[in-house]
Symmetry: C2
Subunit: 631 residues, 2 copies
Amino acid sequence: MSIRLNIVNAIYNGMPKEAGISKIDFEGPEIAVYVRNPAVVDGETVKKIAKEIKKRVVVKADPKSRKDKEETKEIIKNIVPQEAQIIDIKFDDELGEVLIKAKKPGLVIGKGGSIQQKIFAETYWRPIIVREPPLKSRTYDGVLTHIYNETEYRAKALRVFGERIHRDILFKDRFVRITGLGGFNEVGRSAVLVETPESKILLDVGLNPSVSYGEKLFPRIDIDQVKLEDIDAVVITHAHLDHCGMVPLLFKYGYEGPVYMTPPTRDIMALAQLDALDVAEKEGRPIPYTAKEVRRELLHTITLDYGEVTDIAPDVKLTFYNAGHILGSAMAHLHIGEGLHNVVYTGDFKYARTKLLDKANDEFIRVDTMIMETTYGAHDQENREESEAKLIDIINKTISKGGKVLIPVLSVGRGQEIMLVINDAMKNKKIPEVPVYITGMVDEITAIHTAYPEWLSRELREAILYRDENPFMSEFFKRIEGYKEDIAQGEPSIIIATSGMLNGGPAVEFFKNMAHDTRNSIVFVSYQAEGTLGRKVRDGAKDIQILDRDGRVENIKVNMEIGVVEGFSGHSDRRQLLAFLRNLNVKPKNLVLNHGEPSAISSFKRLVESGKIKGIDNVYAPKILESIRTI
Amino acid sequence: MSIRLNIVNAIYNGMPKEAGISKIDFEGPEIAVYVRNPAVVDGETVKKIAKEIKKRVVVKADPKSRKDKEETKEIIKNIVPQEAQIIDIKFDDELGEVLIKAKKPGLVIGKGGSIQQKIFAETYWRPIIVREPPLKSRTYDGVLTHIYNETEYRAKALRVFGERIHRDILFKDRFVRITGLGGFNEVGRSAVLVETPESKILLDVGLNPSVSYGEKLFPRIDIDQVKLEDIDAVVITHAHLDHCGMVPLLFKYGYEGPVYMTPPTRDIMALAQLDALDVAEKEGRPIPYTAKEVRRELLHTITLDYGEVTDIAPDVKLTFYNAGHILGSAMAHLHIGEGLHNVVYTGDFKYARTKLLDKANDEFIRVDTMIMETTYGAHDQENREESEAKLIDIINKTISKGGKVLIPVLSVGRGQEIMLVINDAMKNKKIPEVPVYITGMVDEITAIHTAYPEWLSRELREAILYRDENPFMSEFFKRIEGYKEDIAQGEPSIIIATSGMLNGGPAVEFFKNMAHDTRNSIVFVSYQAEGTLGRKVRDGAKDIQILDRDGRVENIKVNMEIGVVEGFSGHSDRRQLLAFLRNLNVKPKNLVLNHGEPSAISSFKRLVESGKIKGIDNVYAPKILESIRTI
């Protein structure tokens, strides 16, 4: 009997007759059971069916049973306590869902989901509850609006995905083949193809930020193995462009399948892609897709929380785990063929606590093959406490001289971490109270962070959710738009500005106007790539020529103090990579190293092979276009 | 400017005006220049052009200039000395060629090609000269007749190949990717995919003789990387079915490109494939193609001699070298991207002289990557002289008892080698003169050997061509059809019969009727696979049940003497593999081991890595579906 028939039978047999099933839909990875009388279906019944068929099952109401929308709004407002502060209510007629946006979503959910359940029981609309962030984010609002404007397209797409995910298994032969498409023996354009006889999964589809054009900009998604119509799922581990920057291109070339990621990754990714289009246009550089493909990608996105086990192909289940790298970053666990093989792809990960995020996960039910990033495979980073002390010291010295501190930051992750460090230091009087200006994309990204407190470190989460202390809302922070002359020339202050390598954004303007003054400082808190202005300055250049927007050469004298603080990295250093492997509850038979320069990878490979880690049989360091079979 | 335009220009500029070029055709790897007046074109002019454009150039006459066919036949018969014994003359109007079949083709060619040139100069037909073998071969005749019946189809196909081979190079990116499709960490279903950004080459497309059906019967030509319409060339190294048995399947599924091999491989392959169809039909086993696809394959076959450098893709040149394994067996050298990379695929090879063939080649202009068979990677074979002595000893003992000797042989290679050994021994009185019966396919294969004396060992070649002594024609050999009761029960004799593992053919009938008699012997001279009747007998089983054709069980008592002689293998043993690598004039940077059981391969890999061979950087032992990049 076919898999789908099996599922349908189990549902008909398991549900009470009185429920009146009107339709069973495969909506992406979920099985939606539409009934005329949801009141008679209790949670236990659904759980039992889900357990039997090992699928995610949701009960929804037949359209004819659902309450009128205006009436529903009224009921919701009556049930939900006022303090929840509902901001918006939107309906999805296709999926029978009602989106409730509230300042305190926990109060809409209720204890143990009680209020949420009550809403469904009284309106027959399935509530989807999201947070209205304290800092307004255009991106966050825009993504939700876009998706709820296109419910018809989206429902149709989900049904196509669902039929495909739950298709029958055809082949008896069993293998798992892993092919490096990008980001192998290099950093950038990350992409991995995982193939079984049944299915093909793409893990990350990034661009190469160190080149502007040409074939090295893309991962090798042009080869015959990557037939877009045969790809079952694209899985994105985090929102940096070197991991997700080429997803829209798939849609341009005809990909019609789902893209899986966490909710924060979706929003930051959309922002990063649209910003990249913007910057490329300004610089007259071509990017091979447009905003149209970004919008399509969003409609094909299925978001998953950490720990949520989800069918993404007839023989593959996906589960995300915290990677500790940036907001929403995930390790992807693929359970293949009912126990045949388990693959973990770490993506970029930080195996250490930061102020912003918890330490990456190190517990998996099973792992046979681990694909692990090795960016710092050959280096140990400066220790975190030293780094904080160093940053505080530079700030104190600069301000005592009457100077200003410029901190160029990457918009995602590093910027927020530095904000938290400075806020803490100022609160604890380790540095004097001066204005902290935030400018550039870091501001919008911070707003997205405030929409997802559940995804932050335990301490932050508790402070925000239970004590109502949100450090991102700290009174020390002053948000500004772009570059401000009066701040660059004004009183002592701290300026946190993008971009992190001085290759664009307001940070460059601030630098140009602050560099001459010996009282000022610039502090580099992240990696400065070869060829960037940041690298030149960090390396001590004193006379710098910059082309301004009109193509005129400006000569910049660099008299300001240069600080370099390296301990805030979002990547695990060598010690952390080793500790991660050592602490894993189950050891992978195969370790595949990627995302690193060849020297870092070969050095770390030798380290593991020399017996530093017990229980790993094979260490692979494939080149791009090499394929390995892990079973 | 395009590659094709370049070629055309060079030809127009290089040829004398008076030649009157009427057409330039790309006929497979050859550039054919059709002229109205070939008399004015001398050999030097053509050589100069060929050297300039690095292509094979042939001058042909415009159809209107060619002499009338009957007249041409008369001219040929007048020019060629009578002793050449011309048997047949056939015309190919499409390609302007005349096929001359003669018992002494050397006399048709003439000293330094003088007569051949004269034929062209006087008739304007390009002579193709082949041998009429002393032993009539149905296969050999059939193949030639088939090809000359379909000259129109073939000329059209060659032109399509030619256009494709000489297409322009598109990509700047350069890589060479090697993927194991079959025969990696196993023996059987050999197939290798070599990919560059421009082109895809399949090296061997075999079947797995140890299974009768199911997915392990085929190499993995079903994966997306093997898009048949994108394959530029199929290259077959020799005619054993585990290397060529699935080529017809490619044509069934739409392959329309060329298949390259040596002329003897073409004929033996056709015979082996048709015989496999025959046997499968008798046994009621399905084979996924029919004789129709074999016939198509022959029309797509382009034969190459050893050492002939040939363009097979815009960035790949192929050259065959002697492999010493069976008649026509070749090592394939791929020169990729004008010096970028050189790959040698050894196929099966014997790095030692046998009576039948010369030792495999060990000199290459360049090799960067060598894909080498490792069948005997873990074993040294019994020495050749001992083996011969052992065989002679068994024969002597048996005949002196009044018994008969049954030698089951593989039809290709081993059978002929044993014939040569016995002929020599009998001639030199080491064994008494008794009839040597030859039965089964070995007879037809021997006939094909007599058509290609140039491809045999130097000694045989000299004996046959210069001294007119053909051991295959020896008076000792008596050819019979199938099984003969009177021989099985008759006077002392030697019976050489297929198949080699007693899994079919007249050998089984002889065995059944000879086994009970203690005076008789059976001698195994080749590998007996697990599960075959041969293996059971070799291992000493005394009571054997065999199903006869009507499904009745026959009980066979084995009282005959069992002899095992292992030194006649067509594969290099461990010592020979090592000697081959050691003697190579250039050492490959990468050594890829295939065609061996996992234990043989891993053992040989350790041997090479332990430093036995200097100059090899990487040793790979890929699994099927693993891909490696050698540049």
